[in-house]
Symmetry: C2
Subunit: 177 residues, 2 copies
DNA sequence: GACGAAGTAGACAGACCGGTCTATTTATAT
DNA sequence: ATATAAATAGACCGGTCTGTCTACTTCGTC
């Protein structure tokens, strides 16, 4: 489900597709997820969110500094995007734009995911000596930049936005750390 | 149609909705757009694309410098987003992520739109004295940043990403112009 | 083995989708 | 006025969607 949300989004991912992929039955789905499709999507978003948080933390933890970690993060996103014929960008971006007032739980889950990502980046920056205020601002900025780059790279089927973003973020972080 | 694409995207916008809004009939739609839904979406994307290009050009033309023009552009996007309860972000972002290999015409149209926007920004920057190479890079970067900010602002229902992006872009452009 | 709960299976309903089709109206040219 | 083209109207088709429903199987406990 997480992969389907990443590639096709919430609306375009049908429960029938999920059932076919998992070779489970409709009854099982609605037994384990009484909330139906939205509850399933919320769970998938949370899984994707945690996966990225763990990845961010591990990259910052494996040093040597914030600049190198950021470089690896952007490269990782770029590799995933390019390695999937530009179908796997941000795991939640499509759902984030699709989620309207009819899917409040999904909206809320996505807000939490983005907030968690920003905190993870911010924590990584402060762990390498950056001041808390600068770290929060820069983390927010990095998240914006990466999301924008993933969007444009996917749309234009080119990794140029990722490269630009990488060099730019490395410079910005290098100046302040 | 352009508004529907902006708010709900390609998949979630049904031809029936369009017909209801325009009070036209199904027959008329497929007479004027033999390509069906995708052809209609392509036309809408092109209209939105031109609208933004004209806006970018006019803001850069009304001076006094690149920094002020950029500030007005970001503010304009932020105002549109906030004034619509965070439903009207980038007019094509949602469609850009949705468009897969099944909608090649839509994909291509969106690529053209993004390319046009970048060129418009780049032209605006060079018109105010920036070197061509720097202008292209900064235009690309600004587009990435604005798209990312619109995405995150819409998802989190907060204008903070727009403000951050504005000050950041103003600083980046101010340094190089 | 008996029995109740937990879980699975898949048919079904009601609604909506995009696209095609024929019939009808409107405009244009002679 | 009439013939032809342009345009509109809306019923209709096959397909797909989400969610509900009942029947069946599996499992743990006595």
């Amino acid at each position: 489900m997480a992969v389907c949300l990443q590639e096709h989004g919430y609306r375009s991912t049908s429960t029938t597709q999920i059932l076919a992929k998992t070779s489970l039955s409709r009854g099982s789905l609605y037994f384990h997820f009484p909330g139906g499709k939205e509850a399933l999507a919320v769970a998938a978003v949370q899984v994707s969110g945690r996966r990225i948080v763990n990845w961010i933390s591990s990259e910052f933890a494996s040093g040597p500094d914030s600049v190198a970690a950021t470089s690896r993060l952007v490269d990782g996103f770029a590799a995933a995007l390019g390695g999937s014929q530009f179908t796997k960008g941000c795991p939640v971006a499509l759902s984030a734009l699709e989620a309207g007032d009819q899917e409040p739980a999904l909206q809320s889950a996505i807000q939490t995911v983005y907030s968690d990502w920003q905190r993870a980046i911010s924590a990584g920056l402060t762990a390498h000596g950056m001041g808390s205020e600068d770290a929060q601002r820069l983390a927010h900025l990095a998240l914006i930049q990466i999301e924008g780059a993933l969007l444009l790279a996917r749309a234009t089927k080119s990794l140029t936005p990722m490269q630009l973003t990488k060099t730019f973020l490395m410079e910005a972080i290098g100046q302040r750390s």
